[in-house]
Structures are given as C-alpha cells and as structure tokens.
Symmetry: C2
Subunit: 237 residues, 2 copies
Amino acid sequence: MNLILLAPEEIASGRCTLTDVRANHLRTVLHAEPGDRFQAGVTDGPIGTLTVVGVGEDGVTVDFSPEGEAQPPWYDLVLALTRPRQLRRILFQSATLGVRDLFLVGAAKVEKSYFNMHLLREEEYRPVLLEGLMQGKTTAVPRVRLFPKLRDLWDALPTAGSRLIANPAPEGAPAPALDRAAPPIIAIGPDGGWSEAENADFATHGFVPISLGPRPLRTDTAAVALPAVIADRLRRA
Amino acid sequence: MNLILLAPEEIASGRCTLTDVRANHLRTVLHAEPGDRFQAGVTDGPIGTLTVVGVGEDGVTVDFSPEGEAQPPWYDLVLALTRPRQLRRILFQSATLGVRDLFLVGAAKVEKSYFNMHLLREEEYRPVLLEGLMQGKTTAVPRVRLFPKLRDLWDALPTAGSRLIANPAPEGAPAPALDRAAPPIIAIGPDGGWSEAENADFATHGFVPISLGPRPLRTDTAAVALPAVIADRLRRA
C-alpha cells in the first residue's frame, strides 16, 4: 500500500475509524502511532494526508486532510476475457497503470463460461481494483463492463481517442498517431489471438495495429506492455 | 505454445520422439496427424519446422528441419529477488520478452529466506523459462545467476551496454541515451524500493534512472513495462 484509500462514506468531519486490512496494515506493517502521517486518498476523490489519532484493539482512528487531485486515469482497455487468475492480475495491474474503463469482451477463442466467474461480481473485483489503485497512488476506480458478444461493444466505446489493437503491424509501418486530447482505447486479444472476422471488425471500427515486436506476448504480458509503451510515447511526444 | 522447443540431445538424424507435455499438446490441443507441420526450435539453436511422423500411445514422433536463426535475446535484467509466485511469472515473462542474463540479487527489502526457495533450483526454473521461450517463439535459454549480496554483483555484470534503473527520474530529465551496440542492463527493485545506500551503489556503477511515470509499479509490473518501453525506444530510435 503506497497510499491508503478511504471511502467517502467512511469519513465524517474528516475523521474515520478503520477496522479492516488497512487497520492491520497501519498497525503491523507501518507500526502506526498517534501523530504519524501517511499518504492517503479518497476513492474517486482527492489525495492527501492521513494522521493517526488513535490505535486501539477495535480499530485505527485517523484524520484525513485532502491536498490535491489524484493522477487521472488516462486509457481505456478492451480485453478479451481471460481465466480468473490472469484476470485478477490484469485488474490489479491495469488499476495501477491508470485504466479508466475496462471493457471485458467475448471472442471466438474466449471460453463462454468465463463470463460466469465469481471475479466478475463487483464485490469480488472491486477490492482487487482498490489494491491496484493503492499500489499506483491514485484514486479513480476503473469501471468494468461486460460484453459477452463483441458486436455489442462498438456502440459502447467512447467516440474520441485513438483506437489501437495489439497486433503485428506490417513491416515498416509508421507508428500510429496518438490523439493527445482523449484517452486512447487499447485492445488486447486472447492468447490464441482474435479471429480473422474479429480483426476485420476492429479494423472497421477504426482500430489500428500497434506492434510490440517480433515476440508474441501472452495476454497478461501485453496488458502491461502496451499501456506502458503508449504512456511512454505520449510522455515523450 | 507458439513454438515447440526440442532439446539438441533429443534429436538424432533430425528425428525425435516426444513423450511429455509437448506430446500431449500436439495430440490434444493441435490434434496432430502424420504430415502436419508446426513451428519449432532447438533450445539455444535454430528455429524451423517440425513435421509429425507418427502419433502413438507412447509418444509423438517428429522430424525437425532447421530454417533460420531465432530472435536473439537483447537485454539483461537485475532483479531484486521476489516471492516465488511473482518470480515464476517474471521468469516466464522475461523469457518471452527476450532476456539474456537474469541476475537475481538480495537487497535490504528482500527477505533473505527467498534465496532458499525451490524455484531457484535449475530443474525447477528451467521448465518455466522454456515455457516463456515457447510463448515468445524463441530459443535462447536465459541464464540465471544468484547474488544474495548485492556487492558481489558489480564484477559479474557485462562491461558493455546501457545501465538503467527503474526509479523516478528528476523532473524534466532527458531520457537516457541507449547504446545500441550491446544489450542494456535493466535493474528492477523490490516492492518497497532500493535503500538509499543501494541506490547510491547503482549510481556509482553507472546506472541511470529511467522513469515509468508518476505511478509506482509493483515489481512484476515494472519487470514487463520497462523492457517493453526500452524495446520500443530502441525500435523507434
């Protein structure tokens, strides 16, 4: 936890008593004592400083003072739904990296049963996203949306923003231009790749191939590598 | 498996009988029949084509014909040793991404007991590396070396190649120049970061900070993001 996240409804007049893993973390990892200060934030709100008021058996009481805006999320991810263990990791890592909307989609090479997994319930995936935010010191909780049928995706996508799909680009193809005015939409396929029909659909809807080199990456590797590369290109542009 | 890896000692006069997970993969995932051809390679050797000769109860017999050189590994990784589950993933992903030497090092924030883990035995980590190579369609098996004491690392590092450490860079610092003549050496710290003394040691030995943006990344995230970003900068330079 690089930042301790508080829910707005937990805070009354700037004060809050923590009783869950955050209290444990304050007590046993950070060895919190009254007067200690730590970086904190409010979900979907500001970042700031938490001051420990009291450490007791039944909880840790803290005061929170907001100090500024959190890093805003900066990309959307279209992800072919993957198996639970990989998805859990991608949820965490995407939240850390700054994803805004997560569109989890079906595909020819995605097992339909994946859409029934427990992890797709909000009470299951939300704590994973919050952990990822605390790692990345930010606060905006990514939105998760499910599209078992890919054809239902297109109308749900934001109309602005560069659309990029992780696919081998033609040899010598120029790097796609990146629109800096809106979050890019990044599409990552299943381990076996999108089908030809699916690739054609993405092309029809304006997705441009972006290559990560000659080595095929597993979905969870691409889901980190591609946002990292695009963030780097945007920072250096 | 995007490529099936054969060991040189398994092949006699171009022929080889597989009896392990590769035989299972050929039978049950690829539904191999005599005459079918698949991408294959020889560990630390060429890539080429495998032709199925026979599919039997006790194994799958194949012919291998070499066709070209595999993608060479292109970076070295200095990694603060992490817990087994994360390390297993980093081994796989680093092999896919094209790591050459993996220097696993101790640090103030690395538990000393990690150096006793089973996964650090060659018979345990080698299959994980081979899986990563098969994902990335390449053949050169990364070398793994252990440095429980960081001070033993410096003399073991290659003398050529840019030295980069994943750390916040000073605001507005120019991107470090990348030497294209030799593999860069990329250093990734423990989740809690390197100590001040360790950072000073890296600086003394020529490591330059390279930033991945304002969000602190977990070790396994940085171990994918940083090589991906450096590969992209090298490809676009």
